[in-house]
């Protein structure tokens, strides 16, 4: 099962903000962390991640700084700002609402036994 593009895009902002709320991080590691958290089910591309990070930076949700790593390599680290934390809380509230509503529907359906396959998959 692969998560659809629309859903990936919709969940991208809270995902990145959430990861940055754990610790400051850089692009490649953020991508790996998403991969790890979703068990490889979320297909993120660089074309999604970096423009998103830049947009969040423009909106003031994250700040960036260049740090040098081995040799001449420079790495751009992102950290969440207080505005970003507020946004994350707001997004989280919205997502909780959506998830709760969906759970309500699916568990209700399960009780009536009309769509057992979905219920099973949902619980699995």
């Amino acid at each position: 099962m692969k998560v659809t593009k629309d859903l990936v895009a919709a969940s991208a902002t809270p995902m990145v903000l959430g990861i940055l709320a754990e610790a400051d991080n850089y692009g490649y590691a953020i991508l790996r962390r998403i991969n790890e958290l979703s068990g490889g089910e979320l297909e993120w591309t660089e074309g999604l991640l970096y423009p998103l990070l830049h947009r969040l930076e423009r909106l003031g949700y994250v700040a960036s700084s260049w740090q040098s790593v081995t040799g001449e390599r420079r790495r751009k680290y992102y950290s969440i700002t207080s505005r970003g934390l507020t946004e994350l809380a707001e997004q989280r509230r919205q997502w909780d609402t959506v998830v709760d509503a969906l759970k309500g529907i699916w568990l209700g359906l399960g009780d009536h036994g009309s769509l057992p396959a979905i219920t099973l998959e949902c619980r699995a």
């Binding site: 490649y28 991508l31 660089e46 074309g47 970096y50 998103l52 830049h54 260049w66 420079r74 751009k76």
Partner: protein
């Protein structure tokens, strides 16, 4: 392959990849840094899991996806990068050109201010911009073009010899405009007013090409510069018109009449300063946006060709001779100038190595139909001139016609040869660039020799 070689190979692959990335204008060098770090992280991870450096690079690149997709996503977030900004004070991110371009800006402002001051200077001697048309007409280009030449000369660090030549030529222009005892209403004043700017513009060209004045490429650059400069000037003039309209309206509304300020100060000063600004803009924005002149020629070449062919067909269909009035020769001169302009600016933007195509055929049609029309006009008009006698106006117009005709006829010949793949395209370009001195020579002859020749009529 040893591990060491593998890593060296990897570095060169990174360098090559970076080169591609930096070629994308959606991606800035800081983005390239970030993506390179990502790619390296990805490659390191893959090597750690057992792949060879070569394989790891291929897999990592594949995962990154095509550069097109990546740039598209970046462009969606950074759409402003596609609209390259013409920064007035150095660009953000690129600090190399900073102090240099700022100094450039100040020199330009100085030259523009100098032009504005020089156009007002004659007022100290009691000459008025509105009333003394016979002074300002021939002299107008002398207030603007030396300053533009000064700016170009400064930015190219021209040598002393060239400076001396430029000063001498501008002085010669001043002599031609002012020394001859021409009556205010004489034809020669008008003829000089038209030809001196052409002569002086080519002097500006000398400053533009600087030490490289024999080089055909540099002369072509000057032709490009001329076209772009003209377009910028027209745009600035349009903006200036809007500014004046608003000034007029708003001040009028509070009972202050700004006519005198506008006509005495804003218009003359703005007109000369804008020439310097236009020249500077062309210099600064080179490569920032697509050149406009070639785009316009692409648009209008088919339309002009159709119009001229329709005119020719109509002439033969109705078998009516062209009614040559006094203004007709000048009209057809202007037509030839337009055709030459269309030709020049599509030449200037053409890839010299591209094979002949449909557009080149269209241009031959354009030039040949213009020539045919012009020959008809010349046949009609030569009789009239001998009939009515010569005036500086007529001789100048006739001379221009002959010069343009010669240029276009030989161009047409070269183009036909190029279409049949007998000559390289470069011949056509060289013909046009080597013709520039002919225009300059003729303009100087008209300005310097015509007034005494026609006894200051």
């Amino acid at each position: 392959m040893t591990a060491q070689e593998g890593y060296e190979e990897l570095e060169s692959q990174f360098a090559q990849w970076r080169h591609y990335v930096e070629g994308r204008r959606e991606l800035q060098s800081s983005d390239a840094d970030e993506l390179e770090d990502h790619l390296r992280g990805s490659v390191d991870g893959l090597i750690a899991s057992g792949l060879s450096p070569d394989e790891a690079f291929l897999v990592a690149i594949k995962r990154l996806g095509s550069l097109d997709d990546l740039s598209r996503e970046f462009a969606r977030e950074h759409s402003e990068r596609l609209w390259k900004q013409l920064a007035l004070t150095g660009r953000t991110g690129g600090s190399e050109a900073g102090p240099r371009s700022r100094r450039d800006l100040w020199v330009m402002v100085g030259c523009a201010a100098g032009a504005a001051a020089s156009v007002k200077a004659p007022e100290l001697f009691g000459l008025r911009f509105e009333q003394d048309g016979s002074f300002y007409g021939p002299n107008f280009s002398l207030f603007a073009l030396p300053w533009l030449a000064a700016y170009l000369g400064w930015s190219r660090q021209v040598g002393h010899r060239l400076i001396a030549i430029l000063v001498a030529l501008f002085a010669l222009g001043a002599v031609a405009a002012n020394v001859y005892p021409l009556a205010d209403d004489s034809q020669s004043v008008v003829v000089t007013s038209i030809h001196l700017p052409i002569a002086l513009w080519l002097v500006v060209g000398l400053a533009y090409v600087a030490d490289d004045w024999r080089s055909s490429r540099r002369r072509m650059d000057f032709i490009r510069f001329t076209g772009e400069c003209f377009i910028y000037y027209v745009l600035i003039a349009l903006g200036g018109g809007v500014l004046m309209a608003f000034m007029f309206g708003t001040f009028e509304a509070i009972g202050v009449a700004p006519e005198e300020f506008i006509s005495q100060w804003l218009m003359p000063c703005g007109a000369v300063a804008a020439i310097v600004v236009a020249g500077w803009l062309v210099e600064v924005k080179q490569g920032v946006v697509e050149n406009i002149a070639p785009v316009l020629t692409r648009l209008f070449t088919p339309l002009f060709t159709a119009a001229l062919l329709a005119f020719l067909v109509a002439v033969f269909w109705t078998s009516a001779g062209i009614d040559v009035e006094r203004q007709a020769l000048i009209l057809f001169d202007l037509l030839l100038v337009v055709v030459l302009g269309l030709l020049l600016y599509s030449l200037s933007a053409r890839d010299p190595l591209a094979p002949p195509g449909l557009f080149d055929r269209l241009q031959v049609a354009l030039v040949v139909s213009a020539l045919a029309i012009d020959v008809l006009v010349l046949l009609e008009i030569t009789g009239r001139i001998t009939e009515y006698g010569t005036t500086p106006n007529k001789v100048a117009a006739l001379g221009e016609n002959v010069i343009l005709l010669a240029n276009l006829a030989w161009s047409a010949w070269l183009m036909v040869k190029f279409l049949r793949r007998r000559t390289p395209f470069a011949d056509l370009e060289r013909w046009q660039t080597s013709y520039l001195p002919v225009f300059a020579g003729w303009a100087w002859v008209v300005v310097l020799v015509f007034p005494p020749l026609f006894s200051y009529a």
